[in-house]
């Protein structure tokens, strides 16, 4: 009876929290003022139910397209969080965030990305995954472990004529991953000088890559690739991040080494095609981001980032699956299957950004530019947000890509047609 009373009392003292945003917006191409018809989140709702030391948290969104009028309900997160004295434990579909820098995080590979939102900040660009995580605080240390039982992949805009980097058709992925379960571990130390973190993650690429091919060899003619078969490489990352302060400047940095390899393939031994050739590949690459930020006396924040990605070693071996005989076939161009999304644009870039508020936070000005240091090209964005009444905001933004006509394969050149104006209305509740 006493236990029941205590339970009822706990329920009675439980607390419901919610917040959300309604955000209709429209994007218009700069070149011909045509509307860009990509899905966007027209409404989001974050809900929480607090019951003692336990929270139930949810995040839902409604994704909408103007041209078709269709809306899709999306349960982005739903998880239980328990907060004992020593830390926190969470289980469910959730989004994690590792790393010290803003926006481009080589150490943050726990969740796949939603490339429809790759220019959106924070968790908006991520997809929730079912996972178990636990964080323990011991003195100045934090230790965090994450188990992701099922591999999830990036959401890519396939067949979207309005997104220049879109592939026309979603590729068929032949092979399942070698090991579904993914594991991550991070330790952070805080001191008067700042924070330092180390992270390890063992998982699978979020984007598919070439693993085998069906090839016809004929004497006297080059081999003909009849079919390319995709799968997900196994990747392990070792990362490091820090934040420290020098005078009025804040320095943030993050770096990760990725070791990716072709997985062990599950091929039926009795049904191996005669023309099947496997690509054994082992690639080590690194991504780093270094950020400096400064806030002026008038509360304008200026930050600069240097983003770099490089391949330190690559090894490719093609061999015939049945005979295990090595053959000579062209090696694919390496594309990272994990890491900061910006790596699809360039291997080296500098990003400068600035933001400030005026008129008692009624007006917000933001601007950023990304300069491609590897080839030509840049991206420029600027936005003005005005809040005529509390909880309402009107925002207008311009996004400009500039490439080089002589470099048609340059991502910035391909994105030029995506240069657009955006107008959005926000209501927060």
């Amino acid at each position: 009876m006493k236990k029941l009373s205590l339970l009822l009392l706990s329920f009675a003292s439980a607390q419901i929290n919610y917040s959300g945003e309604i955000n209709p917006s429209v994007m218009t191409r700069k070149s011909d003022q045509s509307q860009i018809n990509l899905p966007f989140r027209i409404a989001t709702l974050e809900g929480g139910y607090t019951f003692g030391s336990v929270d139930l948290k949810t995040s839902i969104a409604i994704e909408h397209r103007w041209n078709t009028g269709e809306s899709v309900f999306n349960l982005r997160e739903v998880y239980l969080a328990y907060y004992p004295d020593w830390g926190e434990v969470k289980f469910g579909k959730q989004i994690h965030a590792w790393g010290a820098v803003d926006g481009n995080n080589p150490t943050d590979n726990l969740n796949p990305y939603d490339y429809y939102y790759m220019f959106s900040p924070g968790t908006k660009r991520k997809l929730g995954t079912i996972s178990f995580s636990s964080k323990i605080y011991v003195g100045n240390f934090q230790l965090e472990g994450i188990i992701i039982p099922k591999h999830e992949i990036n959401r890519m805009p396939y067949g979207e004529k309005d997104f220049p980097l879109s592939m026309p058709v979603k590729p068929f992925v032949e092979y399942e991953v070698d090991r579904e379960m993914e594991l991550g571990f991070r330790v952070q130390n805080s001191s008067v000088l700042g924070d330092v973190g180390f992270a390890i993650f063992n998982g699978n690429d979020r984007a598919p890559s070439l693993l085998t091919a069906n090839v016809t060899f004929q004497e006297g003619v080059p081999p003909v690739v009849d079919q390319m078969n995709l799968g997900y490489r196994s990747t392990t990352t070792w990362g490091f991040d820090f934040v420290t302060f020098i005078g009025d400047f804040t320095l943030r940095g993050e770096s990760s080494i990725f070791k990716t390899r072709a997985p062990l393939l599950s091929i039926n031994l009795f049904k191996i095609p005669l023309d099947l050739y496997e690509l054994h590949q082992e690639v080590t690459y690194a991504q780093s981001v270094f950020q400096v930020e400064y806030t002026t006396a008038s509360d304008i924040t200026i930050s600069g980032q240097y983003i770099a990605s490089n391949v330190s070693s690559e090894r490719y071996d093609w061999f015939h699956t049945l005979s295990v005989e090595l053959v000579q076939l062209p090696n694919p161009t390496f594309r990272p299957g994990m890491g900061t999304p910006f790596a699809i644009f360039t291997d080296k870039a500098i990003m400068l950004s600035s933001s400030g508020v005026m008129m008692d936070d009624r007006m917000e000005l933001k601007g950023s530019t990304v300069v491609n240091m590897d080839e030509s090209g840049y991206m420029f964005t600027a936005s003005i947000g005005y809040s005529p009444w509390i909880n309402w905001k009107i925002e207008t933004a311009i996004v400009q890509f500039k490439g080089e006509k002589d470099e048609p394969e340059n991502a910035f050149t391909k994105m030029e047609d995506f240069s657009h104006l955006r107008l959005g209305l926000y209501y927060n509740f």
Binding site: G87, Y137, S190, V192, D248, D360, I390
Partner: protein, 249 residues
């Protein structure tokens, strides 16, 4: 009779406290072990347009440890801020940003920066170290019927203050500040601050702060609502893990 008056005058001259002694009295004033309140902050610009922020705050050690959870405006809801002051090293400040799911460590050095775009700076919200300021007593004054000490406070170089001096009116009976004028590095009047306090349990606590930035022609009114003291706040509350959960009022 003349001897009595003479010795009274001499006695009062000898026994009158100087600025530092008054500052020490103010510093030694009984303060709550902890405080829990809802804070309403109204910012008003030169055109009379206002904007309201509402937050929940828990603090202890005379505000040396403080967590603030922002409730309004709604686009700030869920953002929270942890401050831990250290006497012999830089303060620690962290913010929880729900949109990024990150606890962001931020620089504590810019004490002159405005808190949430208000006329109160982080320095205004921090406690003053007696050893890092020079105190001198000016003539007592009566403000709104309250008999007050008047102190001139000049921050020393090690205080790294954004002000060159303050004039503070301290009510004698409560040892609470009633009014303060703060001057910028050029010696020009920057801010006028007016304080209202009340008695809660055996303590005098701040109930309202009104700040006028003379140079920007802008005001901030901070009202402390639902004030509770000595509620037994756990020392371990002031940890970043508690930034993610808004407490129940």
């Amino acid at each position: 009779m003349k001897k009595f008056i003479f010795f009274s005058i001499i006695g009062s001259i000898v026994c009158a406290q100087n600025g530092l002694e008054i500052a020490k009295m103010v510093d030694a004033r009984p303060t709550p072990k902890d405080m829990f309140n809802k804070t309403k902050m109204v910012l008003t610009n030169s055109k009379g347009q206002s904007r309201t922020n509402i937050m929940v705050s828990k603090s202890m050690d005379g505000n040396k440890r403080q967590i603030i959870w922002f409730l309004e405006p709604k686009d700030d809801k869920g953002v929270s801020f942890l401050k831990i002051e250290h006497s012999n090293q830089d303060d620690e400040m962290r913010m929880w940003l729900p949109a990024f799911k990150k606890i962001r460590r931020i620089s504590s050095k810019r004490k002159g920066d405005a808190f949430m775009s208000s006329d109160l700076s982080y320095e205004d919200l921090s406690s003053r170290d007696l050893t890092k300021n020079e105190y001198s007593r000016l003539d007592d004054e009566i403000i709104d019927g309250k008999d007050c000490y008047v102190l001139k406070v000049i921050p020393k170089k090690e205080a790294k203050s954004s002000y060159s001096k303050h004039l503070s009116w301290i009510e004698k009976s409560s040892l609470m500040a009633v009014k303060e004028e703060s001057y910028d590095k050029r010696g020009e009047l920057k801010k006028n601050k007016a304080y209202t306090h009340k008695k809660l349990k055996e303590y005098f606590v701040m109930e309202r702060i009104f700040v006028e930035d003379i140079q920007k022609n802008h005001t901030t009114e901070v009202t402390f609502l639902d004030l509770q003291v000595d509620t037994g706040i756990d020392y371990n509350l002031f940890h970043e893990k508690n930034l993610k959960r808004i407490p129940k009022m």
